[in-house]
């Protein structure tokens, strides 16, 4: 088992505190969105620091799983005070920020991005009392391509030597792809039938900021709101479709699912297709238009008669 050196998290914590305190003291920003430690060991939760005193409580650890870009989206307005905001962002969160900027939800000029050198975070089921290792690291971190942040205002910490991780999620995706449609249907049916429609996947997603979700509407009703297998399947298909070409791949939907539905597989499958077809990839540079709101005249149409 390969354990990751924990010292890097302490150096990130220190850098975040220093930077946050400075920004707040100088009143460069109205608030810093970061993480604070939870009551239970190995847990952390998002927090909005509004004073230098609050800044002292900010931390960074493998328990800092949340994508904080969520709190800057329209759906969560009022949580972060008006004015310039600083945000602590891991690589995966940076892609979400870029996505929100691309969709004109945020202005880069209104942000101070404190990018963290992130070695990885815990998986949802991972043992939190142990140091981060091959055994408890999140699937997304195993295949992370932006451990060191780019295009940020401040980089917090330095990255330790990281082992090569087994890309379990890519393998799982390939396994599903190799199945027959019937087997895949059975796979998803089992997962979706456990769905209780708690909507954690929607509420935690930085891109699910619609004021009126299609799935909450009942006149006309596009998707059944009752948590039955039929409506659950429809909801997850609609969710994946609405995020296609927008999803930043932070896998928060999957992490927050209390029923362990591997939702990121859907997102990844869509991302893979959009990359193959339209050379689109979620990145850290804001793009004005996503792959599904632009076109080329010579787009593939081999599936159309």
């Amino acid at each position: 088992m390969t354990t990751i050196n924990q010292n890097c998290y302490d150096s990130v914590t220190e850098a975040i505190r220093r930077e946050a305190a400075k920004l707040l003291q100088e009143q460069t920003v109205a608030a810093v969105v970061g993480y604070v430690a939870g009551r239970r060991p190995g847990t952390a939760s998002p927090a909005v620091a509004k004073s230098a005193e609050d800044a002292e409580k900010l931390v960074f650890s493998p328990a800092c799983v949340n994508n904080l870009a969520l709190f800057l989206s329209k759906a969560k307005k009022g949580i972060v005070p008006k004015g310039k905001t600083a945000i602590v962002a891991k690589g995966c969160d940076l892609r979400a920020l870029a996505g929100l900027i691309g969709e004109s939800q945020l202005n880069r000029e209104d942000l101070v991005v404190i990018g963290v050198a992130c070695a990885g975070v815990f998986s949802a089921a991972g043992e939190r009392s142990l140091p981060l290792s091959d055994a408890n690291i999140a699937a997304k971190c195993r295949e992370c391509t932006i451990h060191t942040p780019e295009g940020v205002d401040v980089v917090a910490g330095t990255l330790p030597q990281l082992p090569d991780f087994d890309p379990v999620e890519a393998k799982e995706l390939a396994r599903l792809e190799a199945m027959t449609p019937q087997e895949r249907w059975a796979f998803w049916k089992e997962h979706f039938s456990r769905c209780i429609r708690c909507m954690a996947c929607r509420q935690i997603c930085p891109f699910c900021y619609c004021e009126q979700c299609l799935c909450d509407r009942n006149r006309p009703q596009a998707v059944e709101s009752s948590p039955r297998p039929a409506g659950n399947l429809a909801w997850h298909i609609v969710r994946a479709m609405h995020l296609a070409g927008r999803c930043a791949g932070c896998a928060e939907c999957e992490r927050s699912c209390p029923m362990d539905i591997p939702l990121n597989l859907l997102n990844r499958r869509m991302a893979q297709e959009l990359k193959e077809q339209y050379q689109y990839e979620a990145g850290t540079t804001p793009q004005e238009k996503g792959p599904l709101n632009q076109y080329r005249e010579d787009d593939d149409q081999s599936f159309i008669k």
Partner: protein, 334 residues
């Protein structure tokens, strides 16, 4: 002498109950989790992990039909669901935090309106509670007045003993008749010390003091601190053994359809949204305040009970790490 049952016989009991046409529900492995599900054999009973969802769904399903309608020859024919068909049920292997919840929920489901859907199922269910040896740092049952060995709500209570044995305590008449129906599976043995209950991090909370604070602090800046970051999902309410809000939805067309009742959660933005568009709980921390108020004040005012069994599921499930036990401890310290 102690009245006891071995784990082998407990599984045999499940098998025999099923053979006798009884619907048996218990913790069972389901994918990567353990969930309460119907058992088809005793072997499937999984007793080493706390089920991800509570046992409340046995009485209060995630979603159920309450009536169906269909236009027949120009007239609307409405058909009620037949509540008499609910089978005799045994819930086996519920830890105290799950076993205790139906007794708490009885009050609200039989208050001004008798909810047959709940009460019929409740009447027909026997609960075999089980002493808990598997707690983790999110558990806080002893902080809210229960304990890993508390028999509240159980009809029959099993205390784990060394060597895969369970000391068997008859709590109610239902429990007595269950043991009387299957006498061969139980035996007498000399008393031994039960397996140690898990130690809980949380200190006992003073629920009276918490309620007093809640009585006078409907408006308090602390609510923002506690729950501004709440993402507005229903994970906490849906895994909770005591949350019981539901919504009713008509699904179908104007010709034919079903009226369904399904879980709802006060965390949802639409929960108190009025038809006018006005929402008295306009921001997330007010919604979360309601969750705490309902559990530790309103329910107490109305029924003299606390709407929380300290199972810790909401603490584990919250995607933004809101920790109800920590919040209660903070209020208690005021």
């Amino acid at each position: 002498m102690t009245f006891a049952i071995s784990q082998t016989n407990l599984r045999l009991l499940v098998d025999q109950l099923i053979q006798d046409g009884i619907f048996v529900v218990g913790p069972r492995r389901s994918g990567s989790m353990v969930l309460y599900e119907p058992l088809s054999k005793g072997e499937a009973l999984t007793l080493d992990a706390l089920p991800r969802r509570s046992a409340k769904e046995l009485f209060f399903p995630v979603c159920e039909d309450i009536l169906t309608y269909e236009r027949v020859e120009g007239k609307m024919a409405v058909r009620d669901v037949d509540r008499a068909h609910y089978p005799e049920t045994v819930l086996v292997g519920a830890p105290p935090c799950d076993a205790a919840s139906p007794a708490i929920l009885d009050s609200v489901f039989s208050w001004d309106y008798l909810d047959d859907f709940y009460l019929e199922r409740r009447k027909k269910t026997t609960i075999i509670g089980m002493g808990c040896t598997r707690g983790d740092d999110a558990c806080f049952c002893s902080a809210v007045g229960l304990a890993p060995d508390s028999v509240a709500g159980s009809d029959l209570f099993l205390t784990p003993l060394p060597g895969d044995e369970y000391a068997c305590q008859v709590i109610t008449e239902k429990g007595r008749s269950l043991t009387a129906d299957y006498p061969g599976l139980f035996h007498e043995q000399s008393p031994v010390d039960p397996l140690p209950a898990p130690k809980q991090e949380m200190k006992q909370l003073n629920l009276e003091r918490i309620k007093n604070w809640l009585d006078t602090h409907f408006d308090d800046p602390l609510w923002e601190k506690f729950a501004d970051i709440c993402a507005g999902c229903g994970a906490c309410a849906f895994v909770c053994p005591a949350c019981h809000c539901f919504d009713i939805n008509d699904e179908g067309s104007s010709e034919k359809g079903t009226r369904r009742k399904h879980w709802d959660a006060c965390g949802f933005g639409k929960f108190t949204n009025h038809a006018s568009g006005h929402n008295p709980r306009d921001v997330q921390n007010k919604r979360y305040r309601n969750r705490i108020m309902h559990k530790f004040k309103y329910y107490n005012d109305k029924f003299g009970k606390t709407l929380c069994t300290g199972c810790g599921r909401c603490v584990r499930a919250c995607p933004v790490g809101i920790d109800i036990a920590g919040i209660l401890a903070e209020i208690d310290a005021k």
